[in-house]
Amino acid sequence: MMPSENSFVQLGENEQVEIPKEDVKLFEKLSTDRRAKLAMGTTEDYLRMLEKMKELEKKGEIIVHHVEEDYKPQVVKTLSNREKKIPTEELWQHKSCGQCGHIPGYISALYWIMSELSIPFVDDTNQTSCTAWNYYGSGTSNSVALSAVFLRNMHVAWEKNAYPLIHCGTSYGDYKECRFLVVMSEDIRLKVRSILNKIGRDIVIPEELVHYSEWLHVVRERIAERRKLDLSQVKAAVHPACHTYKLMAEDYTYDEKILDGARPAPTSSIILALGAKLVDYSTWYDCCGFGFRHILTEREISRSFAYFRKIRPVVKETGADVLLTHDTGCVTTLDKSQIVALAHGYKETVPVISDSQFAALAMGAHPFKVCQLQWHLADWKPLLSKIGIDWQNAEKEYKEYIEAIKKGMKPSFIRSAPRKLQPRVNVSFAG
């Protein structure tokens, strides 16, 4: 007599065993359950911090800026299989000091995509950078100042009722550290609170810290629907920014269907969604070589590392047409480091752009007016030709455009779709 509540479970290649149904779950959960316990870096501490954040909110000690339904969130999984909410609308653009300074195509491409998808956003002038350059680059700040700057920016976003979307990998990493400190250390919390109170603000901590590449990841299907160019012949390699997935490894997006969940999903996923070929190389996990100070004052190290550990392997092993990344420092280092090597007679070169610029190009954005490729130094002409963009014509158009600008014409600004949410007014604090 075979009881109906049993079933067969595969143990190895040639063996099965029959066990009760409730035990089957134990076997099947093996892979996801174990990975949920895979604690790289500070996963367990990080999850503990999130619990403490909920406790503090319940006690009324802090306000948490939740990813409410109004932000139309989508859920992704992180390294430990935690569910993370990614807001897709009504975003507060937390800009990167580096990008905006000298690779503006990064941000203009992102804004253009949002405008095409009718996503309302807030581009604030009441925003400082994270100032984490003073942390990782120079050591000329401290935990209290960095946390206060973090919370100041988050407070502005909360007042405007828009969810912060962080553009820079380093800002994202720094904010992960600061949030951890503010939640776990009462001392830091008190010091930061007293400073914020003096400028009429208080502690508002975002429920999730979201990097823009994660946003691109969750809306990639919508972007793919609007794809105008054929990318099927394009080989794209990915360079992931260290600070997104190594600094507090727990928080970044992983997806079982992208690269078997073994590597972070963003940027790789947009390449696949756009129909291009994703290629792999032996130094995927290596840093770009930015080093913060090194890119300014010890450039031989930065460019040697970038060229010999990243650019050369990418070109030699994969023949990639483009190298995509999602952080300012990475684009800068990988793009600018090729020039000196080429001057020395090395042949390998590959254009380096951000995933937002790549996606925008695929959707038909102008390579110069919108994607601002003229600020990039490594040769992008073969890439544009391959995807069917007549860059000579585009250059001509752009030159005429610049002439007109010189004569006083204003550029056609990218505008956000009209906002549906109202800014918060008359906010008061428990103190």
């Binding site: 800009k95 581009d123 100042a145 290596d286 601002q372």
Partner: protein, 261 residues
């Protein structure tokens, strides 16, 4: 046999050499880490104890430092390790031994830690969950606070950028690209860009950035005031003063002009 006269000259010369060596740059002298050790031995004992105490009292230390089994996982992923003699494993080992030998920290802060890229590849793979990069970041902050020579030498070359971040909150700005001088190793294309930078910048289709040359985006006056206020209250001005006196003076002036009391 040496005369009394030549003896006193050589004594004078060695004394002068010692004066030259005060900042640690011992040209043509002992190789490698030996002069770091020499500097540490001659340094102020109180300063050394103070530094070791500050490291351990930092709020992040408990999170960043645990046991080290010398496995080398951190170093296997470390970028500068490929090019120079820097190992995050050594950093953690020295932090460990600094409990009884605090001069090891001082020794590291001389040259060693400034090689770190702060990429945190070490943090991600450490089986004991140490954060060597994080320990280095704390040590850099301590070096700056105490005005160590290594900090001065590392930061002075880009004082302009430190000033810009502390006041406007933005860093490499378009006005730094008006000539090719600052970034000439970024290629001849830079000259082309430099010529047209104002127009290029005016043509950026983002309203908060178009035409803004001195910052990365247009920043409200009130925002900069808040930033400098935060820095002042959090002790950043005091911390940076010993290392970058000129920059700190300028920032203080700017803050006062902006109305930050």
């Amino acid at each position: 046999m040496e005369s009394a006269f030549s003896m006193s000259i050589s004594k004078k010369v060695s004394r002068m050499l010692q004066r030259l060596n005060k900042d640690g740059w011992h040209y043509g002298g002992l190789p490698g880490l030996q002069w770091e050790a020499e500097n540490a031995r001659n340094a102020d004992r109180e300063l050394i104890q103070e530094i070791a105490k500050e490291l351990r009292e930092d709020v992040r230390f408990e999170e960043f430092y645990h046991a080290c089994i010398n496995c080398g996982n951190c170093t296997s992923k470390c970028p500068p390790f490929r090019l120079v003699d820097f190992e995050p494993r050594i950093v953690v080992q020295k932090v460990m031994h600094s409990k009884d030998e605090p001069e090891l920290l001082y020794q590291m802060m001389d040259q060693y830690i400034w090689s770190c890229f702060q990429c945190y590849s070490c943090w991600e793979v450490c089986p004991a969950h140490n954060n060597p990069g994080g320990l280095v970041a704390i040590l850099k902050e301590i070096a700056v606070k105490h005005g160590l020579n290594s900090a001065k030498k590392a930061l002075e070359p880009y004082s302009k950028i430190v000033y810009k971040i502390m006041t406007t909150g933005t860093q490499i700005t378009p006005d730094m690209h008006t000539t090719i001088a600052l970034f000439k190793d970024w290629g001849p294309h830079k000259a082309e860009l430099a010529k047209n930078i104002r127009a290029e910048r005016a043509a950026v289709p983002v309203e908060t950035m178009a035409g803004v040359m001195d910052k990365s985006w247009r920043v409200d006056e009130e925002t900069m005031k808040e930033l400098m206020f935060i820095e002042k209250e959090a002790g950043v001005f005091d911390a940076v003063e010993k290392t970058l006196k000129d920059v700190t003076d300028m920032v203080r002036d700017t803050a006062k002009e902006a109305g930050v009391e």
